[in-house]
């Protein structure tokens, strides 16, 4: 059985959507990340309350012509990469309340 993967934006970043893309700056080392349109959708949905596969099903597969398995693989690679830089948190349990995202708009 595959455990569910919950994703939540880290508090130590600031983010801003510019056009279709999202720019993220790590508050720890000022590293700058840019997310494309699909990655932006996952980023915006990463509030810790929904597992990644549910985000992919409801936000990606409904909007883009893509195989579910492929979309999920890409999404997992994305969140693991972002988590490696400390700007996204991953957990097998819900992360609701553990992190409230900080956005540049706030």
């Amino acid at each position: 059985m595959t455990c569910k993967l919950y994703v939540a934006r880290s508090r130590s970043v600031a983010s801003r959507k510019l056009g279709e893309e999202t720019m993220i700056m790590s508050g720890l080392d000022s590293t700058l990340f840019t997310l494309d349109e699909v990655a932006t959708i996952i980023w915006e949905a990463a509030d810790g309350s929904k597992p990644l596969e549910e985000i992919v099903d409801s936000k990606i597969c409904t909007q883009f012509k893509v195989e579910r398995a492929e979309a999920l693989r890409d999404a997992e690679a994305l969140v693991e990469g972002l988590a490696g830089h400390g700007i996204l948190l991953l957990s097998s349990e819900s992360l609701t309340g553990a992190n409230s995202p900080r956005k540049a708009e706030e």
């Binding site: 130590s12 600031a14 801003r16 510019l18 056009g19 279709e20 893309e21 720019m23 700056m25 508050g27 720890l28 000022s30 700058l32 840019t34 900080r102 540049a104």
Partner: protein, 268 residues
């Protein structure tokens, strides 16, 4: 009989923010007034006060990395050639350095970046100039053409800087100010200001061409040209947010240009 008092302080005002510099060595003050001609005043109030303790050059590596940290409520600024501290509440500080112009020039730049970061402004690696009451900012890394485009400016253009642009936020608009921070041109900008009409990302090419850029590209380019030195998470976030706000409000273009004065025919 005329008595001339030795002057031990001067005020350097850049971007509308003034720093009073006090040193016991009159020749140091005179040197500052020459270097910052057009930006130096005497008397009156100042936004910041700094005491300069002149010391012999230390053996430490003058090229050692700069560190700007907030320690117990005081900013500490350290580089191989100087050490300074500054209380952001009283706006008083001191710097220990040898009698050279470069250490205090770095201090000014850092001090202004800290101040601007809290009010949505920036120091930017960019040339800037005023034409017909509007300021144009030309950003780019070293070699992108900042000095070139500044040196090609026709007589009706007022040069603000060929190296470091000073940008302040005033309500919903941004204003560019002249700075004494020079690049290869070696010429101080005029101490005047104007609202910013556009930001151009410079690129030398085989033709003159202006093209719009996406918000994300503008944001990336703008962020990569901001001068900011402090190791402070909150201020870094603040600068990031301010940069995003800037590119959302100011038109940003990529300016590919030939290295001749014809480029200025496009900039009105």
């Amino acid at each position: 009989m005329t008595v001339t008092l030795a002057r031990t302080e001067t005020i350097i005002e850049i971007g509308g923010a003034s720093v009073r510099v006090h040193a016991s060595d009159t020749s140091f003050i005179e040197m500052l007034e020459r270097r910052y001609a057009g930006f130096a005043t005497s008397g009156g109030r100042a936004d910041f006060d700094f005491d300069v303790e002149l010391a012999e050059p230390v053996a430490a590596d003058a090229d050692a990395d700069l560190r700007v940290t907030l320690d117990s409520g005081r900013w500490r600024l350290e580089r191989g050639d100087f050490a300074a501290e500054f209380d952001p509440h009283s706006r008083r500080g001191r710097i220990r350095q040898s009698p050279n112009p470069f250490s205090i020039d770095a201090l000014f730049r850092i001090l202004h970046t800290l101040m601007l970061a809290q009010e949505g402004g920036f120091l930017l690696h960019a040339a800037s100039a005023i034409r017909d009451g509007k300021a144009f900012v030309f950003a780019g890394a070293s070699g992108a053409g900042k000095t070139t485009i500044a040196s090609l400016a026709p007589p009706d253009v007022t040069l603000l800087t060929d190296e470091i642009s000073y940008i302040r936020k005033d309500g919903n608009r941004y204003t560019a100010f002249g700075t004494p921070f020079t690049g290869e041109l070696g010429k101080s900008g005029e101490n005047v200001s104007a609202p910013i009409a556009a930001l151009y990302l410079l690129e030398k090419g085989r033709q003159n061409h202006i093209a719009p850029v996406s918000s994300a590209e503008a944001g990336r380019a703008f962020l990569s040209n901001i001068l900011f030195f402090a190791e402070d998470q909150e201020l870094v976030r603040s600068v990031f947010c301010s940069a995003c706000e800037f590119v959302g409000q100011v038109p940003v273009y990529r300016l590919t240009f030939l290295p001749d004065s014809s480029v200025w025919e496009m900039l009105t």
